[in-house]
Amino acid sequence: MRPSDKAKVRHRRLVHVVLIALSFSLMFIGKADLVAMRDLRMSSNDFLAPVIDFVSAPIRGVETMAEGIRTVASLRAENVRLQAENDLLQRWRRRAEILESENQQLRSVTGTVSDEIRSLITARAVTAPGGSFAHTILIAIGNESGIAAGDPVITSNGLVGIVYEVGRAYARVLMISDINARIPVMLASSSWPGLTIGRNDEYLELAFLPAEARPEVGELVLTSGHGGILPAGLAVGRVDRVDGDDIRVRPAVEFRNLGYVSVLIGGTEGVDRSDLSQGSFFTPLPIDDDKRLLEGVNASGTRQ
């Protein structure tokens, strides 16, 4: 081996070691959630998102084509189903109008202050979760449009997640199915509070329910509004399986087909949104405390 080759091999080994050490240390620096790292992530999102958009255009095209073929094949059956659904929805609409009017009358009688009104901005989902370790999506909207970290992201079916990184033109959304997502919820029919926990899977885990709660399969799970970040009453999912303490919730939104989402802006004035990581914001209810808590229910589950 010539001396210059030896030097090359030494140099290559040194670069190897330095890069592996750098990469290894990045894992811990990234975890420290430094502002610089967050800025770096946001800048890289802004830089790379248009490229992904361009690269995935053919994939979207193929998917649209396949969807078109499927739709054409089932057009007649779909038409019949939609007509039946339309009849049902019209009946529900009449019912909703009656209930809304009754609700307004009751609010005026009791003097209840209605929730802060939030405005809605629709954005396209640029990516979908591609790995098993994080369930996040990039959406084509950024701080230029006035969105901020902590804003809820929804579709017409229910809650998708919350915005947690905002760049100039793109933002990253932490989905409710991510392992770091903790959503304060309540059971729609019994109002028992709890938390849904993501599992990087298609189902959520429903935890921290009071011992007296008896969730039933098919029961609707809604956001409770606890903490002020998320408005109350957004559909999170339905109870899919109850096996002792292991309660599984199927999300209301079909995440596999997310094309467009809406970001709810405003309505969280005065709420500290500086730390949205690791669920530290959503503290579970204390067990041995009988203070008055959510919805008139204390931590032991007794109504007060």
């Binding site: 990045l26 992530r41 890289s44 995935s56 998917e63 990516t127 591609g130 098993s132 994080a134 596999r256």
Partner: protein
């Protein structure tokens, strides 16, 4: 005398830099394609590791075209885009590339089945490394079924990717001879 020798050494060889850039470009493109593939409902949450197939092939037959910096950039971009632990995949890929450099001669002489088995081991090792890091950092184990799906589908795609890259390589060699 020494200067003269190094001058002639430099003149002897053609620079690999343009080819290395081309390989890096393709590798990054494949990472972006992986992210894009996740939009297909079938690959939701578990898109196949196309960039790993590419890296494995190049590392065996043209390791001089894939310097460690390319592997680092590839891994880092994947970490950024998939919102994984920053440096997790980059470290796993770099460790794999180091291990492959050590045993590259044995791999070059292996038949296809051995290469496939080798790839299965490499792919599992990369995922296992990421899983361990994730578990240590988050104190939680993610659902394993998407991981297994991702692993299985990547292994199924390996022969197709391998044949495609082999054909491209042969085509390029033929073009080079004709020129």
């Amino acid at each position: 005398m020494k200067d003269q020798q190094s001058y002639f050494e430099k003149a002897d060889f053609q620079s690999n830099l343009p080819k290395q850039f081309l390989v890096m470009f393709v590798a990054v493109l494949l990472v972006l394609l992986e992210v894009g593939l996740a939009q297909w409902p079938f690959f939701y949450g578990a898109s196949p590791l196309l960039s790993l197939i590419f890296m494995y092939f190049i590392m065996i037959y043209h390791d001089e075209l894939m310097p460690i910096m390319t592997v680092f950039i590839m891994g880092l971009i994947a970490d950024f885009l998939m919102s994984d632990i920053l440096g997790g995949r980059a470290t796993a890929l770099m460790l794999l590339s180091y291990a492959m450099r050590v045993g590259v001669l044995r791999l070059q002489q292996s038949d296809f089945m051995d290469l496939w088995v080798g790839f299965a081991v490499s792919c599992t090792a990369v995922m296992l490394f990421q899983l361990i890091v994730f578990t240590v950092v988050h104190f939680a184990v993610p659902s394993l079924s998407p991981l297994l799906f991702q692993l299985g589908f990547t292994l199924i795609l390996f022969p197709i990717g391998f044949v495609m890259m082999f054909s491209i390589q042969r085509l390029l060699q033929t073009l080079q001879v004709m020129r």
